[in-house]
Homo-oligomer: 150 residues x 2
């Protein structure tokens, strides 16, 4: 059993919830993805092999995975909520290219120190952060520069 499964099983039993086939399928799909997932994408992934899983159940399961500390809701994108892994991942910074929509992840180690410090000054107890930086990725910046010069 994978570590994330153990964690989920523990969370479920601690809360008198049941480990079902469907929940297991959803968990696996979530951890099969790398970057960010939205519910609809998960639904399509799962539907391929298991056409009987309902969209509603996926919506219902996401908060459980969040509560279990496995994923978090990190980003709203194309009018949909997106989730990303928390379990086994350091928190990080998202760079969102305004031109092509690409998402780049960079380390947030220094940031976290900075924030703990900064929030303490305001008697605020730091739990987590979400930082999205908008701008232009390398490729798009070059492409746009070329356009302007013409």
């Amino acid at each position: 059993m994978k570590d994330y499964e153990k964690r989920f099983v523990r969370y479920l039993s601690e809360n008198s919830l049941k480990l079902t086939r469907t929940r297991r399928l959803i968990l696996d799909a979530v951890f099969k993805t790398h970057d960010h997932v939205d519910v609809d994408t998960l639904y399509n992934m799962i539907k391929a092999d298991h056409s009987d899983v309902s969209l509603a159940t996926i919506y219902r399961t996401m908060p459980l995975l969040v509560e279990a500390g496995l994923i978090k809701q990190s980003l709203r994108y194309q009018s949909k909520d997106h989730y990303e892994h928390v379990f086994g991942h350091r928190n990080h910074i998202h760079l969102l290219c305004e031109n092509c929509g690409k998402i780049i992840e960079i380390s947030g180690r220094h940031l976290e120190e900075f924030l703990k410090n900064e929030t303490q000054k305001h008697s605020f107890e730091f739990i987590d952060y979400t930082l999205n930086v908008t701008g232009l990725c390398h490729k798009c910046r070059k492409a746009l520069n070329r356009k302007i010069k013409r």
Copy 2:
């Protein structure tokens, strides 16, 4: 004429758009608020004096204000998009209390330097950032501590 009005008028004329009574009402409502506003709140503010303004028009106007550099979409909260002033405001960090929902704003001056530096390392051109920190505000932390001790 207020500075933000000037900016809006300029934006409109640069884009062959018209300055209408309704747009002016919306602009004023937006700048009458301090913290963050969602469209529904604006709608209710405006409706009090001008019952003929339509919700749809407010939705249509928000992107114009964003484009004009007056506001930005900063936060999703209670399933609604929230906007905040950009014009005349330094960018800042949001501290969101997970218990009471209060939003505290703290300065992001140092952060901005840090991010410009950090993104440059990845050949990414920094434009803007949104940083939301979740945690517990002073009051809630104390209240919760008390509960635990009991």
